[in-house]
Point group: C2
Chain length 345, copies 2
């Protein structure tokens, strides 16, 4: 049924080695034989060397696995524009290295980290060190993004703490003193306002990078003599459409809101405008990460550029290098646009 190299070789009356060379090292074969093999291949409908066989010998696959966060699947993760930008960066580096990229779920049971046919892994978002164990066991190179897994692990990390600090300091410099904050849920769940007593409870906050954001905000506030406990906090998934009203209800006095995601920042702007609150005149809003919408919404959103594409490139490059452990920290930059203004006195 399936035509193999050996069938072609037999049909052309040459050895397997010669037939193999016709496809992989044509210059080592006399032209007469070369043609004989090729015509035999064509007659039998041979599709060329089956990569399944090649791989076993070659060992290298030229394939990087990008591991998607476990709690969300691959499909859910693709809803994040920032993550897709990150993938763009990985794809760019892959293009240059003539490699491909496979999207892997981190569900136990699935053909994921434990058994995927790849040369290395990029962990897009992890929550626990233990998730790296399987990759380590397989002795394949791997890179962790936005998670500090110690000095022996390749890492590309955005300095989210510094970023959030920039954002809050920007608002403070504009004279704001009453805030509202939008954080991430840990795990799935519905949007909700968090009681002040839990504000600093890291166990409730999304993933490591979000905990860093919280730390940054807390620090910046503290340096201005303010306390995070006095700030109403909303926990919500970025795409939860029902979240923004909750915060505006909970923080009627706030003159500025900072969000852990750009999506929720934009949602808050929309909701404020719907209620007749003017942005940025009555309410300043700052987001985190830059997405296309942030630049074109009205007003354009002041937010943090976190260079996801660059991060993707760096991560993929580390896999291809596969040498000494590297560790790169990316510094976010504040993009001041139209959604922030001086606080009314």
């Amino acid at each position: 049924m399936i035509v193999r190299l050996i069938d072609v070789a037999r049909a052309a009356k040459v050895s397997r080695s010669t037939a193999s060379n016709v496809f992989s090292n044509p210059d080592r074969v006399r032209q007469v034989l070369c043609e004989r093999v090729q015509s035999a291949a064509k007659k039998l409908g041979y599709a060329g060397p089956d990569p399944k066989g090649q791989i076993l010998r070659a060992g290298k696959l030229n394939l990087i696995g990008v591991v998607m966060p476990g709690q969300w699947g691959v499909a859910e993760t693709l809803r994040s524009q920032v993550f897709v930008q990150f993938l763009q960066g990985v794809a760019e580096a892959c293009d240059e290295a003539n490699a491909n990229m496979v999207l892997l779920p981190d569900r136990p049971g699935a053909r994921g980290v434990g058994s995927a046919l790849v040369d290395g892994f990029i962990f897009g978002r992890i929550e626990q060190l233990s998730q790296l164990e399987t990759a380590r066991q397989r002795r394949l190179p791997y890179v962790v993004v936005d998670f500090d897994a110690g000095p022996e692990v390749n890492a590309v990390i955005v300095d989210a703490r510094a970023g959030m600090k920039l954002a809050v300091q920007h608002l403070l410099a504009l004279g704001h003193r009453r805030f509202g904050m939008i954080s991430f849920l840990r795990g799935a769940g519905t949007a909700r306002i968090i009681p002040a007593s839990s504000h600093r409870d890291l166990a409730m906050v999304g993933i490591a990078v979000d905990q860093e954001k919280l730390a940054g905000a807390t620090e910046a506030l503290a340096e201005a003599g303010l306390c995070i406990d006095d700030v109403p906090v909303l926990h919500a998934e970025p795409w939860d459409q029902n979240a923004a009203p909750l915060l505006l209800d909970a923080a009627p006095e706030a003159t500025a809101i900072f969000s852990f995601s750009a999506m929720q920042a934009i949602a808050v702007m929309k909701e404020a405008q719907r209620r007749g609150i003017k942005v940025p005149d009555d309410l300043s809003v700052v987001g985190f990460n830059d997405i296309p919408e942030a630049a074109i919404c009205t007003p354009p959103l002041t937010t943090l550029e976190t260079y996801p594409i660059e991060k993707g490139r760096l991560a993929a490059a580390m896999i291809f290098a596969n040498g000494t452990i590297q560790r790169r920290v990316v510094q976010p930059q504040l993009l001041v646009r139209g959604s922030t203004a001086r606080a009314k006195s």
Copy 2:
């Protein structure tokens, strides 16, 4: 260096077969041996059966290759939100089938369609039948999206002609008679206005699905006694920021603009507003495809829902089915939002 199954077998003093069974069919092995093998594996640091070896025997990879349009690379393609939505659909179907998804470039030379380790292909966008030749030769199942490759090829096709017709008919029903159109370039290039003589020259228009859009628009106009030749036409890539002004300059009299992409439709709205032209009062705008921005921009964009996620699912399902050739046509639906209104009399 690398620990293989056979090393573990030797260390545990059992045969390869038994060692293999410990990992793949534990119930066939007595518990004593099972433990002996497992402890040997742990001692040697064996990471479990290497998928490279398994694959050769199993034959099946549980991996779908999504082929990206050749002219753009993988990274460029990920910039298209509609394409990413399509990928979401593929990912959903993969999740259910416990398979994975690899993104393949269609560059010659790259490890692409010709040699990728996959069970089947989804061609995201193709321009010529010949691009399918390699997949056909490899005798792997494949699906083509938005391209009519004949009755012997799995296909998921959006009825772009009907969609565009809906859009133009909507504008006609609102009383519009003077239009502007934004089409796609074939290949890369800078945005430019197309002379009337070339309006119906399909060779200039993007890919097959875009040619269908042109046909739909032409038909709808003709049915209202209008001719596409009288409509100023702009060719531009969706993300070209400099395109919108060109069209507004070329079509100062237009009261309605229809675009082959949502991105350019939004760009035109922004540019019009910048010039003091009110949308939809002075100018109606219709896009194609629905992206998140379209729903939240001001005014929200009237556009066509083309169900990319559903298309992705259907395409992946056809690969998994791998039976009789299927062919699904998806009918777009017009989402009337705020960017269209009655023409001023």
